[in-house]
């Protein structure tokens, strides 16, 4: 039988190749052909069965035959009532769960009436300053039936408290509340850049929330360990995988240091990946991630509960791959990326809208994005069988390669002393900046192509209709917040904040004091200000 090498040397050597580089988006070299020779380890060790360690083929035994991924479109803009309306629209169109986008002031721990919030209220997401906004946001949404994801990080403790208090008001026990809060502070210093205090106290707050949820809200995911933002900031697929896994290892270590048994909290750690446009690379990355996490949880932390080893993930198609030019092309990109997500076995997915390079999505655009997932689920047949691409020679070779390269990074970060230390040294931040700069250079040199931008472009007036945020709503929200601050019991608020400050100092878990403060109408900004005072303010080191 001819070997691959023989075929390359005898048959392929005379083939003329197109004058392009045959690499993935992340510059991994791709060979002309893969064969059974490229399958390194045996089926049982490297692949295994779905729902069985190391979960390469899928975390659940039935995957989409049992249950489709949750279609969970990220939504939020304007005031709470605007987003509540969008929530109801999306649920009525067949969406499986909610995902909340907050505005920059909320995300950075400022109230709508703060000086730092000027011009920013309701623009990148919904404005939530207090429990009243939260109540409006979830008006007529039955929390015991609908799971909600909240994308918020440095002020996550306050938003989680607010969500739990709303659940309480709906008569839903916290043990019944399911959902996710992103709350992944390590990647903030690396990529998304939303912070209040320095990394060490930020990690303490994350672990407080992990500890709290483990006993009080065991169905809730207190962290969504994210690669998305790392990738969007410019990292390669390998870096996205490695830095995210390294972040996860840091959270597990911190939970154990807190005195928790790994199997008590690890089952509710969830993940969040980017799905970029290189089809095979992304599917390989998703599969490598599952295998890596399972192995590390077992070998490094001695996890015994299979659920501690199962990497369950949300995913979002890559925002950074979309173009302002010829925006309808984005529908195609998103469809292909969503297909990669499904073939990669994600548990939950957000598909971007075609207009998102320009603005937050219109109703029409987000409907197309949602339909994209529904068409994949209902029409393409890929959900009939589990991990349909498993065993593809190219895919398995790429999965192995990505895992190996990512583990090199993980070991390097281990040697630095872990991710917290690596962040202080600026290591992941600089790797990302370098990768981003390299990619930009490649684009400008034509080594990488973006259709409609550096190839097949047309002179155009961008005429697609986009969502506009009414600037008047900022003043409306400011007045609401001020009115609430005037009318509430200010002594109760003062006491509540004092208690939060004491907990900051004593090391007592912050969540109960914060829940109590939120019940008393203390705001996002006020609680964040306590963090500022007690833990200090982090400033961007500004590495280029």
């Amino acid at each position: 039988m001819t070997t691959k090498r023989e075929w390359l040397e005898q048959t392929y050597k005379d083939a003329k190749e197109r004058p392009v580089r045959f690499t993935t988006l992340s510059d991994l070299a791709i060979e002309p052909l893969y064969t059974p020779e490229d399958l390194k380890s045996g089926y049982e060790t490297a692949l295994g069965y779905p729902g069985v360690y190391p979960y390469t083929r899928g975390v659940y035994e039935s995957m989409y035959r049992g249950r489709l991924w949750t279609m969970r479109q990220f939504a939020g803009y304007g005031l709470a009532e605007d987003t509540n309306q969008r929530f109801h629209f999306l649920l009525s169109q067949g969406q499986g769960g909610l995902s909340t986008a907050f505005d920059m002031p909320t995300l950075m721990g400022y109230d709508a009436d703060s000086e730092r919030a000027i011009g920013e209220v309701g623009r990148e997401g919904v404005s939530v300053s207090s429990i009243h906004d939260m109540a409006t946001l979830f008006d007529r949404i039955p929390i015991e039936r609908v799971s909600t994801s909240m994308t918020v990080n440095c002020s996550a403790s306050v938003l989680l408290a607010a969500y739990l208090v709303i659940a309480e008001r709906q008569g839903v026990a916290w043990e019944q509340v399911s959902g996710t809060i992103q709350n992944d502070m390590l990647k903030e210093y690396i990529a998304q850049k939303e912070w209040i205090c320095p990394p060490a106290p930020a990690l303490r707050i994350v672990t407080d929330m992990v500890e709290f949820c483990a006993s009080k809200a065991p169905r809730f995911h207190p962290v969504s360990i994210s690669g998305y933002h790392i990738r969007e900031a410019g990292s390669t697929a390998v870096q996205e995988l490695a830095f995210t896994i390294a972040d996860g290892l840091c959270y597990v270590e911190d939970g154990i240091k807190r005195g928790l048994d790994v199997d008590d909290f690890a089952p509710r750690l969830s993940f969040f990946w980017d799905i970029h446009v290189d089809f095979l690379e992304e599917i390989a990355k998703l599969r490598a991630a599952r295998r890596m996490w399972a192995r590390l949880m077992k070998e490094r932390f001695g996890a015994r509960n299979p659920r501690s080893m199962m990497l369950r993930t949300h995913a979002q198609t890559a925002g950074v791959s979309l173009t302002a030019q010829q925006p309808i092309n984005n529908v195609v990109r998103v469809a292909l990326q969503a297909m990669a997500g499904v073939l990669g076995g994600v548990q939950s997915m957000h598909t971007n809208s075609m207009d998102e390079t320009l603005a937050l999505p219109t109703e029409r655009a987000v409907m197309v994005a949602l339909r994209t997932q529904q068409i994949i689920a209902e029409e393409t047949g890929v959900t009939n069988t589990i991990d349909p691409l498993g065993g593809s020679y190219a895919l398995e070779a790429l999965t192995d390669k990505i895992e190996a390269e990512a583990m090199d990074y993980v070991r390097k970060i281990d040697e630095m002393g872990g991710m917290l230390k690596a962040i202080e040294l600026g290591y992941p931040q600089r790797e990302i900046a370098e990768a981003a700069f390299t990619y930009q250079r490649q684009l400008e040199q034509g080594i990488k192509t973006v259709v409609g931008v550096n190839k097949f472009s047309v002179p155009e007036e961008i005429s697609i209709e986009v969502l506009k945020i009414d600037p008047a709503l900022e003043e409306r929200q400011i007045q609401r917040v001020r009115k609430m601050k005037r009318e509430r019991n200010s002594i109760a608020v003062k006491d509540a904040l004092k208690r939060v400050a004491e907990a900051c100092r004593s090391g007592e878990n912050l969540m109960e004091p914060i829940c109590d403060a939120v019940r008393r109408e203390t705001t996002v900004g006020e609680i964040s200000d306590v963090f500022r005072t007690e833990f200090g303010v982090y400033r961007d080191p500004g590495w280029i």
């Binding site: 920059m104 950075m108 400022y110 011009g119 950074v320 173009t323 302002a324 030019q325 280029i544």
Partner: protein, 134 residues
């Protein structure tokens, strides 16, 4: 006599944390031969105007992807004028719809670079359009 290199402040105003583009542009301008000061994130307009004066820059580039550009650009312009530095060239980029870019141009913003603009174009533009302040 050696020509003094142009000094450019690349700034991130407001709460927007998207710094991928700003950092690439700062580096490209530096590679292009300019003196570049990058402010880092979360700068108030006051901090930016103050930095522009302290660093004696010839131009300020603002990067805004948060939608708050119609508040932040005018405020930076106003403060620079207040500090006697209204001859500093202002340019910028980010997510800025064309109608807004036109309004900003009327306010004195000399260029807005939209998604897809190349660093080569930006470096060239700065070289041709930014002049040393007296």
């Amino acid at each position: 006599m050696a020509e003094k290199r142009l000094r450019i402040l690349v700034a991130k105003p407001g709460l927007d944390g998207h710094d991928r583009g700003a950092k690439i542009i700062a580096r490209a301008l530096r590679d292009g031969g300019f003196e570049v000061i990058y402010t880092g994130l979360h700068q108030t307009p006051e901090m930016i105007a103050e930095a522009a004066v302290q660093e004696d820059v010839d131009a300020v580039g603002l990067s805004i992807l948060s939608g708050a550009h119609m508040t932040l650009f005018p405020e930076v312009i106003r403060l620079l004028k207040e500090k006697g530095a209204d001859d500093v060239t202002i340019f910028g980029g980010g997510i800025i719809p064309d109608p807004d870019a036109r309004k900003l141009a009327e306010m004195g913003v000399k260029a807005i670079f939209t998604p897809g603009a190349s660093t080569e174009d930006i470096v060239k533009w700065v070289g041709e359009n930014v002049h040393p302040r007296e």
